[in-house]
């Protein structure tokens, strides 16, 4: 059997590359994210309760809800994990034993290959689609309701907001540059179902993308991007974020050089799993919120 929800939350790292990278975003969205790990700790933080018996009761209901496959929580986890795992195998090998404060980026740069722009753009869109579909699985709004998602984006906070900030910064600005929104629109406009079918990220989560046929799925992907691009643009502008500022915040723990920006995007791609990490945190928070209300 796959891991239980308490194992997943108990085993979240307190310190690794993903956590360092997410912490570097604190300058962009100050105070939003705290790396909450541990199942019991999550229950305490989310509910504000401290009675041991009550915490166990809440935990028991959360476990029960998670274990019921028809509730959609396990599917959401699969999505968060799957979208992160494409391309990480290489990263794990290159970085084996190098989980230290100062990551020798330059020592592995020759093993990195920046993704072509088209593949990077599709990756960005697939992560966005993952967010929408997983949101609906967790919160129960039907899978194609992009409008509800956009409304909810306004209320995003904590680990969900940091995931979106990381998406904009690490999968948009750094690999694609300051015009990533316009660029993505252009690439999407010319994309064919065949292009999509040959993309590893799309292939990995194709079954979960609303639409059925690749052509309809492409329409869904386009609509998803269209609905969220305004929010992304405002986010970048209101926070005054540039590729340089993102990288400069990361410099405290990675020895990156400015002229290696595109390689750095590839580095983040293979060395972090921020979707899975924060996805587990979102999932457990929502489960606990529901469990405490239902007991």
């Amino acid at each position: 059997m796959s891991k239980s929800i308490y194992e997943l939350v108990n085993e979240l790292p307190q310190k690794n590359l993903t956590v360092f990278a997410l912490r570097s975003l604190d300058k962009v969205v100050p105070g939003e994210w705290e790396n909450i790990v541990g199942f019991e700790n999550t229950i305490r933080q989310v509910t504000g309760e401290s009675d041991a018996a009550l915490i166990e009761q809440i935990g028991a209901r959360a476990i029960q809800l998670y274990n019921d496959k028809s509730e959609g929580y396990q599917r959401a986890l699969w999505l968060y994990q799957t979208i992160d795992s494409t391309g990480r195998a290489l990263g794990q090998a290159a970085l084996a034993g190098k989980v230290t404060e100062n990551v020798p980026f330059l020592s592995i740069v020759n093993r990195l290959t920046p993704k072509p722009e088209k593949a990077q753009t599709i990756d960005l869109c697939m992560k966005l689609v993952t967010e929408i579909v997983a949101f609906c699985k967790v919160n129960g709004i039907p899978g194609d309701s992009v409008g509800d998602f956009v409304k909810a984006l306004g209320d995003y906070g904590g680990e969900s907001l940091i995931r979106m900030a990381a998406l904009v910064c690490f999968d948009g600005l750094v690999p694609l540059g300051p015009n990533f929104i316009k660029q993505t629109e252009t690439v999407l406009g010319n994309l064919t179902p065949k292009d999509l079918d040959s993309n590893p990220a799309f292939k990995a989560i194709k079954d979960a993308v609303p639409g059925g046929k690749t052509g309809d799925q492409l329409t869904f992907i386009g609509a998803s991007f269209e609905s969220v691009k305004g929010w992304m643009g405002d986010f970048v502008e209101s926070k005054g974020i540039t590729p340089q500022s993102v990288v400069s915040n990361l410099k405290t723990f990675v020895d990156v050089a400015d002229d290696k920006m595109d390689y750095f995007g590839a580095f983040l791609d293979i060395s972090t799993n921020y979707y899975e990490h924060t996805g587990i945190q979102t999932l457990s928070r929502r489960l606990v919120e529901r469990a405490v209300a239902e007991i």
């Binding site: 085993e11 541990g38 209300a293």
Partner: protein, 174 residues
């Protein structure tokens, strides 16, 4: 003298290595095997509830009976089978979570009302922990308000429970 110094250096190195190793272990993973074992035991003691899913009222049916915001902000956050929840916010700050759940999905939730000495609007009331106050409507639907800000007291929770359309909710059952 030289021997003493080398022993001291050796000891220091050893302590250093242990400290570094120990730190890495604790820092890299929050994994607590004993904690996993405890939850595993709880999981075994809490088998899945045998629910007739068709009998459960869908969360979407509850939404319209939630209190109107009136100067506050109401953001619906979850809508699942037998469950709907909304945040109560003011100036961007979350004050409370408001929810309705169908106890058919989790029958043990009704136990606490059996010996309840208090009622509100004619429905039995239960207060659990430091943050929760709830009512059982029509012996089946649990309406709950959970504080998410210290300033939002038990009195506030009761006031907001009364703002739900409780009679409307009861009609869903009867």
């Amino acid at each position: 003298m030289l021997r003493k110094v080398s022993i001291a250096i050796g000891a220091l190195l050893l302590v250093g290595l242990l400290a570094v190793g120990g730190c890495q272990l604790t820092q890299l993973k929050a994994s607590q095997p004993s904690d996993n074992a405890r939850w595993e035991q709880i999981e075994e003691q809490t088998p899945a509830v045998d629910v007739d899913k068709d009998a459960v009222i869908n969360g979407s049916a509850f939404n319209k009976f939630f209190p109107n915001a009136n100067g506050y902000e109401r953001v619906y956050t979850q809508e699942k089978d037998g469950f709907a929840e909304a945040k109560l916010k003011q100036d961007g700050n979350t004050l409370a979570m408001m929810s309705v759940s169908d106890t058919i999905s989790n029958p043990s939730a009704t136990n606490k009302y059996q010996n309840s000495e208090r009622s509100l609007a004619g429905y039995p009331l239960a207060e659990v922990g430091k943050t929760a106050t709830s009512l059982l409507v029509a012996d089946r639907l649990q309406v709950k308000v959970l504080s998410r800000d210290d300033a939002f007291t038990a009195t506030d929770r009761e006031a907001w429970l009364e703002k739900f359309d409780l009679a409307g909710l009861a009609k869903l059952v009867n």
